[in-house]
């Protein structure tokens, strides 16, 4: 379980404070280590650079020569693939579907998860501990277990193949982690603070909205970002529960894969388009994102 066991994670943004292995490194030789790390970083960046460059090369060039030829012949770069993509109704439509699926899934998970977490953290009722334990148990349930039963269920109420069906599934599967993460965060609020608010005659909803949520904003942000990217990047749920007209971009990309080799221009630009939002979110909120991933990694 992520959040409970993970030591307070150091985001990549923070340099480790204490040089534990200082002398190991010193012995290996600083320059050697630094060179090795640069090589590793290049290994990590090159594949992405390859995709980016491939998406900027004309279709014919992709079949004839490697993307690395741009270093000697940068003139081949073109935005033609992206222009074509913007007039591709299937790709654009699926990107829009991704937005339509991701935004409500994120909002609903945060709202419903926060409400439940508040009840579990600060309202006493019989069986509360058992509910909490149930939530912890549900954390690791594999999506595969729910595919067949939920497909029948959604079919029964006419939501199979539709965006609301996909959203419902994402919300349900996002909830255990949301409740778990937020309850831990809410429970850390000093009791006095809450009692004082209650003494003042605040209603629960008001305390939740005015006091608890603002204090726990970092946790809420981590959850929201994690859930957003989780849903944005999903393939399996979209593949099973969305029909052609409501398929997200991951599903559209994967059906393009069948002709791999002849359509690298479409695939590379489409894949890059699907990555733009996650990458922006990643670089803008790296701290929250890293914390969310570390906490929610066991899903």
């Amino acid at each position: 379980m992520g959040a409970a066991m993970a030591p307070s994670p150091d985001p990549p943004g923070a340099v480790a404070r204490r040089p534990v292995a200082a002398r190991v490194v010193a012995r290996l030789g600083g320059p050697v280590v630094r060179t090795a790390l640069v090589v590793v970083a290049v290994f990590w960046l090159l594949p992405v650079l390859g995709l980016l460059v491939a998406s900027l090369r004309p279709e014919e060039a992709g079949a004839r020569s490697g993307w690395w030829t741009v270093f000697t012949a940068p003139a081949q770069l073109t935005l033609a693939n992206y222009a074509a993509l913007l007039s591709d109704r299937v790709m654009l439509g699926s990107l829009w579907n991704t937005v339509l699926i991701t935004v409500p899934s994120t909002v609903l998970v945060v709202v419903l998860g926060a409400l439940a977490a508040y009840a579990l953290a600060w309202i006493e009722f019989p069986g509360r501990d058992w509910v909490l334990l149930g939530v912890v148990a549900l954390l690791v349930v594999p999506i595969q277990v729910a595919l067949i039963p939920v497909a029948q269920l959604l079919g029964g109420i006419g939501l199979y193949g539709s965006i609301p069906g996909v959203v419902l599934f994402h919300v349900a599967f996002g909830l255990p982690f949301a409740v778990f993460l937020l309850r831990n965060s809410f429970a850390a609020i000093p009791r006095d603070l809450l009692e004082a608010a209650r003494m003042d005659g605040g209603r629960e909803l008001r305390i939740f909205w005015r006091l608890v949520l603002p204090i726990s904003l970092p946790a809420v942000a981590s959850l929201a970002i994690f859930q957003f990217l989780w849903v944005w990047n999903d393939l399996l749920v979209g593949l099973v529960f969305a029909d052609e007209s409501s398929a997200p971009i991951t599903v559209a990309l994967r059906s393009e894969l069948r002709q791999f080799g002849s359509n690298v221009d479409v695939l590379a630009s489409g894949a890059f388009l699907s990555m733009v939002v996650p990458l922006v979110v990643f670089f803008a909120f790296q701290r929250h994102f890293v914390q969310g991933v570390l906490a929610g990694s066991t899903r």
Partner: protein, 429 residues
């Protein structure tokens, strides 16, 4: 002072909890139970078949391959990633740009597995003119072994040369110690001859074995086996002279395609042009073929997850008490001993978290295999999570009985993690 639980509090709790609880019950708890029941029925769900679906899961060839691959994944991938994460976490500890480095390695976690899969389909493309992995493989190999200069060239019919099974060209008839040979070659683009190649002329008879290796094409008046105006010699072809199957002399053709082997004892010989001259060029490895596809997909997963392992371990490393390390150093331990005996044991709870997390993640690997393995080898690369989708929803699938059984198997495999979580949670409360 705690307010006693009153009716109002309970009602609020219920209101707050109800939507989330209802969704989790309907979409998680009920399906888990239903899947167990459904796995005991046949494909259409009408007939009770007991444990037949589970029997099928352990006898059906495709599912067995998926099971085998899942085992390989679980055994290999988390260990590799944890090791890489540990090494990188240690190495980056003192680097000033560690933050930037860790950011780079963490980035793959932000993008979808589909996009990552497409990225690696490109990297491992078989054509060295479009796949980076093979481009590197080819240039590394070419740096160590010179590529054959005349790939694909073959003897011109009736010119006295024949091709052996291993790709070398040999003279069909015995050759004397002072013969003059003319060995015509074809199947090579005259424009691709080395620039220094000069006009071919048959050698004058004289002492020693003399010969000409030339490209017998590319002239206007082309006569088979005869040197025509405009035809050029093939420079740099290795020549071996064999007697009784043993190499007794070697030579290399000059710019005009001529070679001379002096000082041969009287007798009969065979002249051989070794296969290195004509072998098809190395085109890299079939990464996405049946043999290598699973390692390839694992390497992509490694690219995605290493940053995660490194970040978690680095956080643990930062929390290792300095005193313990200093004490060990004062006692005269070497740095390696400190690392092995103090740092790693102190880190072991973190390492355990990382491994458990990665194992759960590995069991659910679906998208990566689905996207990277081409359709024709997907069966070879199959894993449990993918096979579950294939049999229940994939083309030609539709067996939801077997699909449910596979889902339940997957569920059983993560149950230890669930128990682990619950135990841990109870201890912390």
């Amino acid at each position: 002072m705690t307010r006693a639980p009153d009716r109002g509090g309970r009602r609020t709790a219920l209101l707050f909890l109800a939507p989330a609880a209802a969704l989790m019950l309907v979409f998680l708890a009920y399906p888990a139970a239903y899947s167990v029941v459904r796995s005991l029925f046949d494909a259409r769900g009408t007939e009770f078949v007991g444990l037949d679906n589970y029997a099928t899961a352990f006898t059906d060839d495709r599912t067995l391959v998926a099971l085998r691959n899942s085992v390989i994944w679980v055994l290999v991938a988390p260990t590799l990633v944890t090791t890489i994460g540990l090494v990188l976490a240690v190495l980056t500890e003192r680097i000033r740009w560690a933050a930037a480095f860790r950011l780079v390695l963490f980035m793959p976690l932000a993008i979808s597995l589909v996009a990552s899969g497409i990225i690696f389909r490109l990297v491992y493309d078989e054509d060295p003119d479009s796949g980076l992995a093979n481009a590197v493989a080819v240039s590394v190999r070419d740096a160590f072994t010179a590529p054959s200069p005349y790939a694909g060239a073959r003897p011109r019919d009736g010119g006295g040369l024949v091709t052996t099974a291993d790709g070398a060209l040999v003279t069909a008839a015995p050759v004397g110690a002072h013969d003059v040979l003319a060995l015509p070659i074809t199947g090579f683009d005259p424009a691709a001859l080395p620039r220094q190649a000069s006009a071919a002329t048959v050698a004058e008879p004289g002492p020693g074995l003399r010969g000409l290796v030339w490209l017998d094409v590319g002239s206007a008046a082309d006569r088979t086996g005869l040197v025509d105006a405009g035809e050029r010699g093939m420079p740099g072809v290795g020549v071996e002279v064999l007697a009784g199957g043993r190499v007794v002399a070697t030579a290399t053709t000059g710019d005009d395609g001529r070679f001379t082997v002096p000082d041969l004892a009287r007798g009969t010989y065979t002249v051989r042009l070794p296969e290195e001259n004509f072998a098809a060029p190395f085109r890299g490895l079939t990464w996405l073929g049946p043999a290598l596809v699973t390692p390839v997909v694992i390497s992509a997963w490694l690219w995605i997850m290493s940053g995660f392992a490194m970040t978690l371990i680095a956080a643990g490393l930062a929390a290792v008490p300095r005193d313990a390390l200093e004490a060990a150093r004062v006692d005269g331990a070497t740095e390696w001993q400190v690392f092995r005996r103090v740092t790693v044991p102190l880190l072991s709870p973190v390492l355990l978290v990382v491994v458990v997390t990665l194992v759960i993640n590995v069991l659910k690997v679906f998208d990566l295999v689905f996207v990277i393995a081409p359709g024709s080898v997907q069966e070879e690369a199959n894993v449990l999570a993918l096979q579950m989708w294939q049999v229940s929803f994939g083309p030609g699938g539709g067996d939801q009985g077997l699909g449910s059984a596979l889902a339940v198997l997957l569920f059983l495999l993560v149950l230890p993690a669930m128990a682990f979580n619950i135990r841990r949670f109870r201890r912390e409360q």
